[in-house]
Point group: C2
Chain length 201, copies 2
Amino acid sequence: MSPLQKDPAKSEAIIRAAIHIFARDGLDKGKIADIANEAGIGKGTVYEYFRSKDEIFHAMGDTIMSDMIDASEKLYSMDLSPHDKLRTFMRMNIEIIFEMEDAMLIMTEIWAQGARAIKHGEHPDTTLYHASQSMKQLVINILRAGVMAQEFREMNYDGVATLALAFIDGFVWQFMVSTNRPAFDRALAEGIESFMKGLER
Amino acid sequence: MSPLQKDPAKSEAIIRAAIHIFARDGLDKGKIADIANEAGIGKGTVYEYFRSKDEIFHAMGDTIMSDMIDASEKLYSMDLSPHDKLRTFMRMNIEIIFEMEDAMLIMTEIWAQGARAIKHGEHPDTTLYHASQSMKQLVINILRAGVMAQEFREMNYDGVATLALAFIDGFVWQFMVSTNRPAFDRALAEGIESFMKGLER
DNA sequence: AAAATATGACCGAACAGTCGGTCAGTCAAG
DNA sequence: CTTGACTGACCGACTGTTCGGTCATATTTT
C-alpha cells in the first residue's frame, strides 16, 4: 500500500508525469506507457515504484491535496484583518487552483469517484474528505475571528463556510469551460464583493 | 449523427438505461452490454439506434440538459417578486439537480471532458455550453428585473450571475460528498440568505 | 589494482482480460 | 416469400500487469 522504497526522485517524476498525462487524457484513458515515457523510464519500472494504476491515483491525489492545503495555510497565516484575509483567501485560492490546471481536472474526476463510492455505501477516498474538512475549518476560523472583531455579522459558521467553499469550487468549475479570461476576472471581482457584502454587520 | 429512426420508445429506454449505468460505473467503465441488458434488449439492438457509445453520450447529455433547462424555465415563469424568484430559483435548482443524482454524476464527467477539449483547443460539447449560457441568461433576467424594481442594488449582472451559478454548482458539488443531510440543509439556508444579503441596496 | 562476483534497478516483449462494435442468422409480421 | 427488427457469439484492438533477462555499480577476492 505504502509507496515502495527506492529512489524518491524517480517516484516524484512518475507522479509529476502522471498528473500531466491523466489531466490530458483522463483517469481511464491515460496510459501507463505514456507516463513511463514522459518520466523517461521504462514501463516496467513504473511497477517498481507503484503496485498498480490505482496506487498511482492515490499517491497523486495525496500530492495534489497537500500542495493545496499548504498553499491555503500559507494564506491563512498572513497578517491581515479578518475581512482582508477572507477576501484574499478566496481570490488566491481560486487563482491557485486555476494555476494548477492539471491538478484541477484530476481532482474533478477523483471527486466524482468519491461521490460514486458514497452512493454505493462504500467509504470515499479519505484524503479528499480530510482535505475538504481542513479547508472548511480554515474558513471557519477566519469567520469566527471576524465576528469576534465585530467586522462580520453574527452567522451560522458552517453555513457561510460552505457557501465560501461552494463559491470557490463553483467559480473554478465555471472557469474551466470559460474561454474569456478578462470577463472572468471581472466576474470574480464582483462575485467576491457581493459575497463580502453579505457578511456585513 | 442524428439518432437513427425506428421505435422512439426504445430509443428513450436506451437513454434511460444509459443514464443509470453510466452514473453508476462512470462513462468509461459503463458497458454497452449492461445498458442493453437494463433496457431489456440485446447488445446488437443498441447499435440499431445509436451508431456508437459516443453518440449515446451526446444523446444522453442533450436529454439531461433539456430536462434541466425545462425545470429552470418553469421556475422562471412563476409569478413572484424578483427577490423571491431568485431565492426560489437557487434553492429549487439545487434541489432539482440533487434529485437528478444520476444525471449529476454524468454531467460532472461531461463537463470535465469539455474542459479538456478546450485545453486542447478543440470545441467543447456545444450542448453543455449553450445550456450554461441559457441558465446564466435566466439569472441575469431576474437580476435586471430586481434592479428595475429597486429591490436589488446596482451591480455587474454578469458577475453576480456567475456568482449565483457558481454557488449552485459548488453547493451541489460539496453535497455530493456530504453524508449529513440535515447539516447540509441548514448550510444551504444560511448560504442563500447570505447571498441574498449581498444584493441588498 | 584488477578481476571476479553479487546486487537490484531497469527494461520491454509477451500475456491475459476486457469491451466496443460486427454480422450471419433467427423470428415475427404482412 | 419478403422485409427488417432483433440477437448474441465472435472478433480484434487495446492496455494493465508480469517476468526473465540485462547491465551499471558495489563489494569481495586475488
